[in-house]
């Protein structure tokens, strides 16, 4: 079952009006995502192997080899392209071309998903050029189309991972980097995987990207008017991560939505030279 974003969207729009357009646009995709039920792919990893992998710091899967229901992802991508292509956007011609490719070239969406999962920017850019579409649009639609299938996988295998023993800055399930973090009620920090949405505990004062624990290099900034949100940064590697403090909120939305609703913090972080 895909995580249901829709009930959270209206509440977030009320709380953070600046994010209205982003969240309303995302709602269209979330409705389509909720209609998809991807199949579970069999996963057989012996416990002994899993334990060794984890001990040595290897994630359960590499991004490129995630056992996903690509047919469901491809169907969802088609639905996205149909929906957005009909909204009269400037790039609707490109969206229609992409739809034609997905429908007529059985391998096209597969190549897109492979490019996204394999972090092959060139491959994604080439596909985008073929259909005269902004690579960011194609990338985002591809990632979002993969999400329900990835979530089915996560629901299947997440319980097998002993996250209390995982002390890395990358995801124990798929090895991707975190895109957001949260403080749970105990104050403990959890990182959130940018690809599969897995969450795992990570020390508060440590950079997840370069692993430095030098307190002089680490810091955060926050808006005085927005209690509960901090942007942690590392002056060593110049990366940042937005963080929501769940102690402050009665109910926090899924971090994917919180991330969309706090884009102003990304802008501020990038203004300060962080990436």
């Amino acid at each position: 079952m895909t995580q249901d974003f829709i009930p959270h969207i209206d509440r977030l729009i009320q709380q953070r009006p600046a994010s209205k357009t982003a969240l309303e646009a995302f709602r269209e995709l979330a409705i389509l995502m909720a209609q998809i039920t991807p199949a579970t792919r069999p996963v057989q990893i012996e416990k002994r192997v899993r334990d060794v992998q984890q001990k040595e710091g290897f994630p359960l899967f590499s991004r490129a080899d995630l056992p996903l229901d690509m047919d469901a992802a491809s169907d969802l991508l088609k639905k996205f392209l149909v929906k957005l292509g009909a909204t009269g956007r400037d790039d609707s011609e490109g969206l229609k071309k992409a739809l034609k490719q997905v429908e007529h070239d059985g391998d096209w969406s597969g190549r897109l998903f492979k490019g996204i999962l394999g972090q092959d920017g060139k491959a994604v850019a080439e596909l985008a050029t073929e259909v005269n579409l902004d690579p960011n649009v194609l990338l985002f639609l591809g990632r979002t189309a993969l999400r329900p299938s990835i979530q089915v996988l996560r629901d299947t295998v997440s319980g097998d991972i002993d996250k209390s023993q995982w002390d890395k800055g990358y995801c124990p399930l798929c090895g991707s980097q975190p895109d957001m973090a949260c403080f749970e009620k105990t104050g403990r920090r959890y990182l959130h995987c940018e690809l599969c949405g897995e969450e795992w505990p990570y020390p508060r004062i440590k950079c997840p990207f370069c692993n430095t624990e030098e307190q002089e290099k680490l810091g955060y900034f926050e808006a005085e008017e927005e209690e509960g949100f901090r942007v942690y940064f590392c002056q060593g590697c110049l990366r940042y991560i937005k963080t929501i403090d769940k102690k402050v909120f009665e109910e926090a939305a899924p971090l994917e939505l919180e991330s969309l609703a706090t884009l102003h913090l990304d802008l501020l972080a990038q203004e300060k030279g962080f990436k």
Binding site: T21, A22, F26, K122, R204, L218, A223, E225, H264
Partner: protein, 189 residues
């Protein structure tokens, strides 16, 4: 548009939300205008130990401009308290940021109802003088049975739970050298 591998990493990583906006073809202006209205403050986090009792709970101090403490919270990664703090520890930042905080010694003379500010030198030498006077007046070389005791029962010492091992040793040595027998500790009271 050409996306390099490096850009790709960037937009699939920490700026996934940015990619989402670009991907949805949205206007960034509402976010930009909102960002401009905010009052931003930066802080650095430093781990420390609560100074109040002997449990030794870990805390994280957030310090802003000019090293001013803006927040203190329990350290969730500290093995002793795992982020929790008692009511006193939770109010730790008031130890520093407090308009009622004492910044000089205060002295209330015998029979007076008023406190007055005094200098440290005066306070310390007055305490030393009075300890010496009291100790000399009350010092007992022998007890009623004629046994050598070298003690005073006119002074008592109460130790603080915030004292570390080395400080306790120094205090114990000093108090024993004066002949004190009433040496207590907050943790036992």
């Amino acid at each position: 548009m050409n996306v390099t591998r490096r850009d790709f990493f960037k937009i699939t990583g920490a700026s996934a939300a940015g990619a989402a906006i670009l991907g949805l073809g949205l206007d960034l202006k509402p976010f930009q205008s909102h960002a401009q209205t905010l009052k931003i403050r930066s802080a650095k986090e430093t781990t420390s130990i609560c100074c109040y009792c002997g449990v030794g709970c870990g805390v994280i101090c957030s310090t802003g401009k000019a090293g001013k403490i803006i927040n203190i919270e329990g350290d969730p990664d500290h093995p002793i308290n795992e982020g929790a703090l008692c009511a006193k520890g939770a109010a730790l930042s008031q130890l520093v940021n407090n308009k009622d905080r004492l910044t000089t010694p205060l002295y209330r003379a015998p029979n007076s109802t008023q406190w007055k500010k005094v200098e440290w030198d005066w306070a310390l030498s007055t305490i030393a003088k009075r300890v010496k006077d009291t100790r000399d007046k009350s010092f007992e070389l022998k007890n009623a049975k004629g046994q050598v005791v070298n003690r005073t029962t006119a002074i008592a010492n109460v130790g603080s739970a915030a004292l570390d091992n080395e400080e306790c040793w120094l205090i114990q040595a000093l108090m024993r050298s004066l002949g004190l027998v009433y040496i207590e500790h907050q943790a036992r009271i």
